[in-house]
């Protein structure tokens, strides 16, 4: 049993749930926030709050600095060429909507094809259905191999000369498997399509280098990487963003406004209408600092150790079925989807809750994936840096009680 030191930075994790020390295993839904992030948000509102980009006074300059310095930090974090390629949004969902409305509706025509994977979160799926419907385009899916990874054959077959957009998640939020984005961008670019990557489950957990994967767009949410809710990131290649019309219009995204006409601001302001979430940016900045202090090598090591420790024990429980468990490719992050024999995931989650263990139950915003796998719903445990082997022990212990509570054993 090993405890790790990072848990000390997360006061919420020393609290109790149903009278038992909390074991938080719902990190794919949202992570907890370290003290430094909470302090950064308080520090902004307590000491630097003003409307950025506007006032010619010191406080507003401070707020502007916090906001714009975070943009520079994010650009470096994912190795973008310039901070002009970083647009702040509310979350990954809003970023995907921005791409769909501003790029999708202007580049997809009747008969064109949009290619998704069956493992997409609804956020990277529903919006493309909308675009396809609006433009009379065809929606195609890349399906999975038996081991849960994207089918290589499908990648080759489904992306064709008609494909305009390929939308793919880098890590499935259910199966936890890392997709080879480089392979997809290479194929997509060879037919002239752009690639939209959902980095919600990858950016917090593995090193994502935008130049290495060569994605045209990448989105992620702050709250899944230690930052507060309400701040997210859209990365887009500068030439693409430059050519796109604004998504939302209004204050702060303009150059000149006259009675009948408006000219728009340059990147990135063009896509950030209205007063932005500067407190969220302050939190995101502190979150990136925290992650970089630990380093992705260490983050991946911790998650991998927990994953293997958990999988080994789960596989010994005869009443547990695990999904997307690939040992051949070694490309699984700390996400485990499973079911308890004859028990609905919602009941599992309630019983685990009574033991102080927080997991997710349901379809995890991935109904098409569940249907494809022939499942109604699953349980999901997902790890982050502050989890330890003792958390896994508590999970296993609680799972051993589930069938007894329902009088099945």
């Amino acid at each position: 049993m090993s405890m790790n030191d990072y848990i000390k930075d997360f006061p919420i994790l020393s609290s109790k749930m149903n009278g038992k020390p909390i074991v938080y295993l719902d990190n794919s839904a949202t992570t907890q926030k370290p003290d430094s992030v909470v302090r950064a948000i308080c520090g902004y509102y307590g000491g630097c709050n003003a409307n950025p980009h506007r006032g010619a006074y010191e406080l507003s300059v401070k707020a502007t600095d916090i906001y714009e310095n975070t943009r520079v930090k994010v650009a470096k974090f994912i190795n973008a060429n310039s901070q002009r390629e970083i647009i702040f949004t509310k979350n990954a969902t809003e970023a995907l909507n921005l791409i769909a409305y501003s790029y999708g509706l202007n580049h997809v025509e009747e008969g064109d094809e949009i290619v998704l994977t069956i493992a997409e979160h609804h956020s990277n799926l529903v919006i493309w259905q909308q675009v396809a419907k609006a433009k009379g385009a065809v929606l195609k899916y890349i399906y999975l191999d038996n081991d849960g990874n994207l089918s290589d054959e499908d990648i080759e077959k489904k992306i064709t000369a008609k494909t305009k957009i390929v939308a793919v998640t880098q890590v499935s939020n259910v199966l936890g498997l890392i997709n080879d984005i480089g392979k997809i961008t290479k194929k997509a670019h060879s037919v002239g399509a752009v690639v939209v990557v959902d980095g919600s489950q990858s950016v917090p957990h593995i090193k994502v280098d935008i130049k290495a994967i060569d994605a045209d767009f990448l989105v992620f949410s702050g709250h899944k990487m230690l930052a507060p809710m309400g701040i997210g990131v859209l990365y887009g290649k500068e030439n693409l963003l430059n050519a796109m019309p604004p998504f939302l219009t209004g204050g702060d995204m303009i150059e000149y406004v006259e009675e009948q006409e408006t000219t728009f601001a340059e990147l990135p302001a063009k896509f950030e209408a209205g007063t932005q979430n500067v407190g969220g940016a302050a939190g995101l900045s502190a979150a990136i600092d925290y992650i970089e202090r630990i380093g992705f090598e260490e983050i991946e090591r911790i998650e991998n150790e927990l994953l293997n420790y958990a999988l080994t024990q789960l596989k010994e429980l005869p009443f547990i079925k695990i999904y997307g468990c690939d040992s051949k490719k070694n490309n699984k992050t700390g996400i485990i989807a499973f079911n308890v024999k004859d028990v609905h995931p919602h009941d599992v989650a309630t019983i685990l809750d009574s033991e102080g263990v927080a997991i997710r139950a349901g379809h995890h915003c991935a109904q098409p994936l569940h249907k494809y796998l022939g499942l109604n719903s699953t349980c999901r445990a997902s790890f982050y840096i502050y989890n330890s082997k003792s958390d896994v022990d508590r999970l296993i212990e609680a799972l051993s009680k589930v069938r007894k509570v329902l009088r099945l054993d």
């Binding site: 919602h346 809750d353 009574s354």
Partner: protein
């Protein structure tokens, strides 16, 4: 939270061996109920004639609470008049909201009172009420249609 107050023998039994989980020969109304957040799904079949629920059944997938609640509801509503069934539905929903707690008032709900403790579990309220909302929807729709 005391799990045994929720997963009682009665609820475990109704969810494991739901007596009314099958199709009807001649349903008058078929109504789908769905909790999108957790994936509970039921299809309620009612045979209604002369203002009376002659028969009822359900199919679907869901957690122990939603399945047991549906099975117990059907047990209770069979052979009741539609008006009485609606009254019981309102009583059940009031119980789950914690608005009616008096045992003698709740007595008409028979086995379904086993779900009273769900009132203390906001995360599971939807599971317990799915069947009853589906029943009310079905009746309302067909009332308006006639």
């Amino acid at each position: 939270m005391v799990l045994d107050d929720i997963y009682t023998e009665l609820i475990a039994e109704h969810s494991r061996n739901a007596e009314h989980k099958h199709h009807l020969q001649n349903p008058t109304f078929i109504e789908r109920g769905h909790n999108p957040s957790c994936g509970d799904e039921i299809v309620l079949e009612l045979e209604v004639a002369d203002g009376k629920i002659k028969n009822a059944s359900f199919t679907g997938v869901g957690c122990a609470i939603s399945q047991a609640s549906t099975d117990m509801m059907i047990e209770l509503l069979k052979d009741k008049t539609v008006d009485d069934a609606k009254r019981l539905a309102d009583l059940f929903l009031a119980m789950i909201k914690g608005e009616v707690t008096d045992d003698s008032e709740l007595e008409d709900l028979e086995d379904s009172t086993a779900l009273q403790n769900i009132a203390n579990m906001p995360a599971r309220v939807k599971c317990a009420t799915l069947a009853w909302h589906t029943f009310l929807n079905s009746i309302d729709k067909n009332d308006n249609g006639s």
